[in-house]
């Protein structure tokens, strides 16, 4: 016998190799299989909160971004049922915040919107909450618009684990969650966040934006205007 056979899982009937320590999401991305996701970013430790990446493993729903790949797993991902559930989760994210895309600088570059396009979302379906959320424009270079925050904690993880600053945190539970800023005043302008920090680059939505960049790239020429999030993210994986 030659080299030991690599371990594999099966996703939608396709055999996918993996290495120990990889999650189902890691193995899928490496093999060019797209599983929709929002709170996951391969550069950071998984958070497992949005549940968009839910797949069926041996008949049970699990978050693929946190579930370790194990030899012989039978995974279902791109099914009508799971994509319907992903669509519902996405619609809930839209109605529980205030997402007015025509007035948002992130439109066209936003992953929440791109996932919604990918899933064919024609309307947010559920009744809108129109919650009261705070905007913080106190920082000279960054704008924090909590109306668009989906609590993915990517800024929290980036600031804590990469920048070593712990500027952001989540407070409260469930529908009462808010993104808080670590300064006595609670204002972003009173932190040492810099526009060059990792935390300032990772927001998947228009919640944390660099100032004075708004429409340097016009609507119609943005990342997801012509390419699906699937094509964009699988492309990045191989850069």
């Amino acid at each position: 016998m030659g080299a030991p056979m690599s371990k594999t899982i099966t996703i939608d009937g396709k055999s996918i190799p993996f290495k120990d320590g990889q999650t189902i999401m890691d193995a899928a991305m490496a093999a060019d299989v797209y599983i929709p996701h929002l709170c996951h970013n391969p550069e950071f430790k998984p958070h497992g909160s949005c549940k968009l990446c839910t797949v069926k493993v041996n008949g049970r729903n699990v978050a693929s971004c946190t579930m370790p790949a194990v030899e012989g797993q039978q995974v279902l991902s791109d099914t009508l049922e799971l994509n319907d559930e992903r669509l519902s989760l996405t619609q809930m994210l839209f109605v529980e915040g205030n997402h007015i895309c025509p007035s948002c600088e992130k439109s066209g570059n936003c992953q929440l919107q791109a996932v919604a396009y990918y899933l064919g979302m024609m309307s947010p379906h559920y009744n809108h909450f129109y919650p009261q959320r705070e905007v913080d424009a106190s920082h000279p270079d960054m704008l924090l618009d909590r109306n668009r925050c989906i609590y993915c904690e990517l800024c929290v993880r980036a600031s804590r684990d990469v920048d070593g600053k712990s500027v952001f945190g989540l407070s409260g539970r469930g529908i009462g969650s808010t993104l808080v800023v670590n300064s006595t005043s609670g204002l972003l302008g009173d932190t040492n966040l810099a526009a060059t920090d990792k935390a300032a680059q990772v927001c998947p939505t228009g919640a944390l934006l660099k100032k004075r960049q708004g429409f340097t790239v016009p609507i119609g020429q943005r990342i997801f205007d012509h390419r699906t999030i699937k094509d964009v993210q699988l492309g990045e994986e191989h850069e």
Binding site: F94, N98, H99, I100, C101, P102, S103, C104, S107, G108, Q113, A116, Y117, G120, M122, S123, P124, H125, N127, H128, Y130, Q132, R133, N147, I219, D225, H226, T228
Partner: protein, 182 residues
């Protein structure tokens, strides 16, 4: 097919919208002439008919921001076999819904009393004016909606695709690039 009785009857209106979706509808350009072979307009801003009669398709632009919007919307729902929400405002509340987190009276004062260049500095209070709501809502929060055509506005091509699919008895389906929320 020019017999008006055989044509598909279509009504349109703009509630809390900017008429941008109607402008985009006109952007289907010369295809409008072909379309007019197949459809007959009932109430629309184009015909100036004031009330909607029995129709096959009703297309509603704009969300619901006051009592009059609700009356018009209910009239559409009652008369139209298929009701379509067109544009971001009809589907999410859109730009007008940006006032949803501002107290209505503060909003009125800002616009009618403090804003420079106004005469009288009074909040209009004529009995003819419809009662405004404290929040703007998408139309599917008031009536059942059969189809949604997002965009701010949807492009003429998206509108054309949607209508031709519908008129030909197909389930309307947009290409990836035709589906956008901005």
């Amino acid at each position: 097919m020019s017999d008006p009785k055989l044509k598909v009857r279509v009504a349109t209106c703009s509630l809390a919208g900017c008429f941008g979706c109607h402008m985009s509808f006109l952007d289907i350009d010369e295809r409008l002439l072909g379309l007019l072979e197949l459809i007959e307009f009932d109430r629309t801003p184009l015909t100036d008919i004031k009330h909607c009669g029995p129709c096959d398709v009703g297309i509603v632009e704009g969300g619901v921001c006051n009592a009059e919007n609700v009356h018009v919307l209910k009239e559409f729902r009652k008369n139209c076999k298929v009701l379509v929400a067109i544009g971001a405002c009809a589907i999410t509340g859109g730009i007008p819904a940006m006032r949803n987190n501002i107290d209505l009276w503060d909003c009125f004062q800002e616009v009618y009393q403090y804003e420079g260049g106004l005469e009288g500095h009074q909040v209009p209070n004529d009995p003819e004016l419809p009662l405004p709501f404290d929040k703007v809502h998408p139309i599917n929060e008031v009536v059942k909606v059969d189809y949604f055509l997002p965009g701010c506005p949807p492009s003429g091509d998206a509108i054309w695709r949607f209508l031709t699919d519908l008129l030909n008895g197909r389930e309307p389906k947009l290409d990836y690039e035709m589906l956008h929320y901005d």
